[in-house]
Amino acid sequence: MKIEVLGMGCPKCKKLFQNAQQAVEKSGIQAEVIKVEDLNKITDYGVMMTPALVLDGKVKATGKIPNVQEIVNWIKEKTQ
């Protein structure tokens, strides 16, 4: 599974990146967490408000920082 954290390097994006990493550990599912800082790629996803979280190409959250448990739930939904 591929988890992308979209944002141009603001403090909120760093926090979301940490949350995503923790969520992956907690869920125990194989997934890589990637930072996407290129503006054009962010727009390609149609994301306006950063930070945003993308799971396997699907935008899950924009403009806010989901907590670890929320991200774990999304990961589990995907793998079921």
Partner: protein
Amino acid sequence: MKRNLKFLVIIGGFLLFYFLPLESFRFRNPFFEALAMLNIYAREHVIFSLIPAFLIAGAIYQFMDQNTVLKYLGAKTNKVLAYFVASVSGSILTVCSCTILPLFSGIYKKGAGLGPAIAFLYSGPAINALAIILTARILGWQLGLARAIGAILFSVIIGLCMHFIFLSEEKERQANGEFQLGNIENKINQRNGLQNILYFLSMIGFMVFANWAEPQTGDESLWSMIFQYKGYLAIGFVLLFIYILVYWFRKEEMIPWLESSWNFAQQIMPLLFLGIFFSGLLLGRPGEEGLIPSRFIASLVGGNSFEANFFASIVGAFMYFATCTEVPVMQGLIGSGMGQGPALALLLAGPALSLPNMLVIRSVIGTRKTVTYVSLVIIIATISGIVYGSLV
């Protein structure tokens, strides 16, 4: 090589400290000025301006529905409406500059197109709650008002110019697509419209009356009456605010609100106070000297000449300002003899543009459009500086 370099650094440091002109007033005073600036901000601005401003910014972020605003910037929106929304929506959609560029890029590629995207890009940094509050409070309400009105008005003008200059390209290029908003959850909000308005009003009211300026002597108008009772008025608004929090808010919505206010504070305060320190060090408090001599500032951007305004616009366009640091820098510059016109010119060109963000903008809209945009910003900032400077 590396060892030689180290040696040179040590020698340089030795010479620097050996010859430090500690006895010289000209050298010592700027450090005093830097601390004095921090002292003034801590005493006069933290409790009555910064804290309410962060609370308001947090409330906007938490309780205003950003997604509804975004709908009006989409590809299918009526064009006139899109310009209007783009020019004012910065106040709701952005707090720091790092959120502006994704919105700009999205509006350009997937939304209402080049004109509205440019309008948003230009006005955003000038009309967010923090910038307006700090400008009006520290640089005076006239300059604060001129900045907000100028930013909104000129954003539409610059946006329209861009649209018509690149009309043929815009017609070929069809901006389309959908904004992705993620899993939308309804923001918990159990208050009606009036209650929400009162909530924001209570915070703004406190700030306005707590900071009510002393009238000129002999002034018997309403202004001085308000000044006499400003303490009671401010306390009244605080009591209203507390009443609203206790009776209309649930704990689950208070915590995220305070958290986002805290996040903004954490993000903006360190750079702001660093800006204040260096502004004091280099420019001194108003009327005092910093490391840079006042007459140097006055000769470059004093008065209201074309050169002064033009120079201020160019410097503003290329210089990078961290969120809200433009305010203490401007305070230092005005105190050192910068004219009101050039001050507005710098405020209109400054936070909207910087060398780093020009490069990002170029990666989205290309070199030709970026150069055109930068030139338009500089021209309009210069003209409005001259006009404003001749009015006040």
